[in-house]
């Protein structure tokens, strides 16, 4: 049996996504910028995808810009707005638990002279609103937070964050990295007060190499990829039609029967956590099952190195990811694990299980069965 429990790394495509990708590669393969019929056909796919995505967010289609994925969306949102708004100020606020697609460009901006404040989080991975409020200044141009943390599934209170930001400084922009949140939460940027939102295609059963950035109409942002002037000059480069068409189909489909899918995910999550806790010396990181994201469980199996457990499970056809990166040469503990102040013992034994709508109870039962079987053996051979 195979159990794919690494859906926060990537997901399997919907069959409908595959079909539209093939169609736009083999039949309607024109360049949307071309003036002839083939171009018009291709352009229609892009328009349709844009409309479908805009509908899920209840925003205007012209506020959606396609990118090469989550990392580009984050980079562009941060560097693009920092460049466009540097006359208004040089202060940017973020959190200590961001994905490197956010933390690395911010590090770059720091080297360029911007001042970056990184908000701490509590042991559940949630920022403190008072700290945010105190930190916002007249020269704060941008706040960037995650929606859902990719490692422990912590959910940030984006609505409250947005309210505080806009009340404290109306000029401050709010960017949300929703790469783990889109498709799992109904997000309405206009209502919430989100100015920019990053999304990746392959986390929602779409293709890899495509994503989008929602940019509220009126936000000042500099384009970072210059060239033929596609996407109103904001993001040049021939449209990735197969990717965009696939992303559009995926966005539409992931929000179909949203409520039922979400309930099922929470049900599976609750069940899995309950069963895990029956095993000796297991620690679940982050928020309670109901408060946290529906698809992410981060668990430490004390006494077993995460990579060893990962490879053991892999051998049985179970795919998970390891909590912290480890190599012979250097061991860098994850920023999130450090920020929630997890002990080294927990950090080094943490494994992430992440679900999707394709995840079944059978997969979870199989995983639990294998865990119960291998853990005693692995614990026997832990470091002396």
């Amino acid at each position: 049996m195979e159990a794919y429990l690494d859906n926060s790394a990537t997901t399997r495509c919907y069959e409908e996504v595959r079909d539209v990708v093939v169609k736009t590669m083999m039949e309607d393969y024109g360049n949307p910028s071309a003036m002839h019929l083939k171009g018009v056909e291709a352009e229609n796919y892009v328009k349709e995808a844009k409309n479908a995505i805009a509908a899920t967010l209840k925003v205007a289609a012209k506020e959606i810009f396609f990118t090469s994925g989550g990392t580009e969306s984050d980079n562009w949102a941060l560097i693009g707005t920092a460049m466009a708004n540097k006359r208004s100020g040089n202060h940017i606020i973020t959190t200590a638990i961001e994905h490197s697609a956010v933390s690395a460009p911010l590090k770059y901006l720091e080297e360029q002279g911007f001042e970056i404040t990184r908000l701490s989080v509590d042991n559940q991975g949630v920022i403190r609103l008072e700290e945010l409020e105190e930190t916002i200044r007249p020269e704060t141009i941008l706040v960037s937070t995650m929606y859902v943390n990719n490692e422990i599934g912590a959910v940030e209170p984006v609505e409250k964050i947005a309210a505080i930001i806009h009340q404290k400084n109306p000029k401050t922009l709010y960017h949300v990295d929703a790469i783990q949140g889109y498709g799992k939460y109904q997000i309405y940027p206009n209502k919430v007060g989100i100015d920019m939102l990053s999304v990746s295609g392959h986390k929602i059963h779409g293709p890899k190499g495509v994503g989008f950035l929602y940019v509220r109409n009126g936000v000042k942002i500099t384009p970072m990829i210059l060239g033929g002037g596609q996407q109103m000059g904001m993001r040049s480069g021939t449209d990735n039609v197969p990717g965009i068409a696939g992303l559009g189909v995926a966005a539409k489909q992931i929000y179909q029967d949203f409520k039922a899918k979400n309930e099922k995910l929470y049900e599976l999550k609750g069940y899995f956590i309950e069963e895990l806790q029956k095993i000796e010396n297991v620690h679940i990181h982050g928020m309670s099952a109901e408060e946290g994201a529906p698809h992410i469980i981060s668990a430490a199996f004390v006494g077993v190195r995460s990579e060893v457990l990962l490879h053991t499970l892999e051998d049985r056809g179970i795919f998970v990811s390891a909590g912290s990166a480890c190599s012979t040469h250097k061991r860098t503990p994850s920023a999130t694990m450090m920020a929630i102040r997890a002990d080294q013992e927990l950090r080094e034994s943490t494994v992430r299980f992440s679900f999707s709508e394709f995840t079944t109870k059978e997969e979870l039962d199989y995983t639990l069965e294998v865990l119960k079987e291998v853990l005693p053996m692995l614990r026997k051979f832990s470091r002396k």
Partner: protein, 394 residues
């Protein structure tokens, strides 16, 4: 402009009666190396020289790069071939050659001609003088120095005329396959691929063994070792890589023996297994990337303790090298980048914080008696379940 390469070889020239064997091996290795290069080539052996004739359009840089990887080649001379249309025409050709190949002229030169075709109207001394005169006339900035010239212009009169002067250094050594075969213990680190390169350079064919310990070492770690073997195979030809699943043996030692002796005992079993496969596959020795004192298992005492289990000679070509010296070679042969790739390696959980650095053979052997019950069976299973991967650059 170059239509051929003259291949210079140093050491194999002195191998007496076996010389033709070495030459034939070199020709074979050159043909093999050129298979992957775009173009049509003919490799010939005549009058104690090896020529690579380029029969079609070809990629010069790629050709030279490939030849530079063939052990046994001391130098590669790109040759211009011209028709014999009288001495006047030859003078013109030589001057054209100099103009093209040397945009800035060397200060001193010497002409050295060989009249392989004896019915050529001028003797070689005469050719040297007359050509030299023409060169002096045309390029007054150049001077003759017959003892230590910057430019040694070689002109060979055969059915056609061969002109060359540049010597691109080759890797030296001896053609692979002329000195038998040896078994490398390949780890994925920096040292063992370098050790393989150095032994292969002396004409030795290489096979390798890798100890895989899933789930403690990952699939990627194994893939990295395969990639390293592929890079080394550019120099020594296809490598048979024997992958041994070592997990059960490792766990058994971990369970039964003192923790600080684990690495030494493990390495003793690795050597035993490697030697077993070596003997089965006609290898005449083992190769390791050990260097004295680099880690606890590479002190003289430790090396003696691991060496004790084998009867085949163990070759350790980097034994006296500092790390940086090994890194320099690894960079030259292009294995360094792959060797330092970080990947999850969880073998560290077995490593003692303070392993023995001066193991006593007596104590080690006593510890090994705790393994008697199951170890032979485990080694047998490991050998029976080994996987063989043929690593070659496609």
């Amino acid at each position: 402009m170059f239509k051929a390469f003259l291949i210079k070889y140093a050491e194999i020239g002195i191998k007496g009666k076996n010389r033709h064997l070495f030459e034939d091996a070199l020709v074979k290795q050159i043909r093999h190396a050129l298979k992957r290069v775009q173009g049509e080539f003919e490799v010939t052996k005549e009058q104690g020289r090896i020529y690579v004739n380029c029969l079609s359009e070809y990629d010069y840089d790629e050709t030279v790069e490939s030849l530079k990887k063939v052990f046994g080649i001391a130098g590669i001379c790109p040759v211009v071939i011209v028709e014999d249309e009288g001495f006047e025409k030859l003078c013109e050709d030589v001057l054209d050659y100099l103009k093209e190949v040397y945009p800035t002229k060397p200060a001193t030169f010497k002409v050295h001609s060989r009249r392989a075709r004896k019915n050529y109207p001028k003797e070689s001394m005469q050719i040297n003088c007359d050509l030299g005169e023409k060169i002096l006339e045309t390029f007054p900035e150049m001077h003759v120095d017959v003892h230590n010239p910057e430019l040694l212009l070689q002109v060979e009169i055969r059915s056609k005329i061969y002109i060359y002067s540049k010597i691109i250094p080759g890797p030296g050594g001896m053609p692979v396959g002329t000195n038998g075969k040896a078994m490398l213990l390949l780890s994925g680190g920096i040292d063992s691929p370098v050790a393989a390169y150095m032994i292969a350079k002396r004409g030795v064919k290489i096979d390798a063994v890798y100890f895989h310990a899933p789930p403690y070492t990952s699939e990627r770690a194994k893939q990295k070792v395969v990639d390293l073997a592929k890079i080394v195979s550019r120099y020594c030809g296809p490598i048979h890589l024997h992958v041994i699943n070592f997990t059960d043996i490792q766990l058994y030692i971990y369970e039964k023996c003192p923790h600080e002796e684990l690495t030494i005992i493990m390495r003793r079993y690795m050597m035993k297994i490697a030697e077993h496969i070596a003997k089965e596959t006609d290898c005449l020795g083992l190769i390791t990337g050990e260097s004295i004192g680099q880690v606890a298992s590479q002190t003289l005492q430790s090396l003696a303790a691991t060496n004790e289990v084998c009867t085949l000679p163990v070759y350790r070509p980097v034994i006296g090298f500092d790390k940086q010296e090994i890194v320099d070679i690894a960079e030259k042969i292009d294995t360094y980048e792959t060797s330092i790739l970080p990947f999850e390696d969880c073998c560290t959980i077995f490593v003692a914080k303070h392993p023995v650095t001066k193991p006593s053979l007596k104590i080690i052997k006593r510890s090994e008696t705790h393994l008697e019950e199951k170890i032979d069976e485990l080694v047998k299973t490991a050998l029976e379940t080994k996987e063989v991967i043929i690593a070659r650059e496609d």
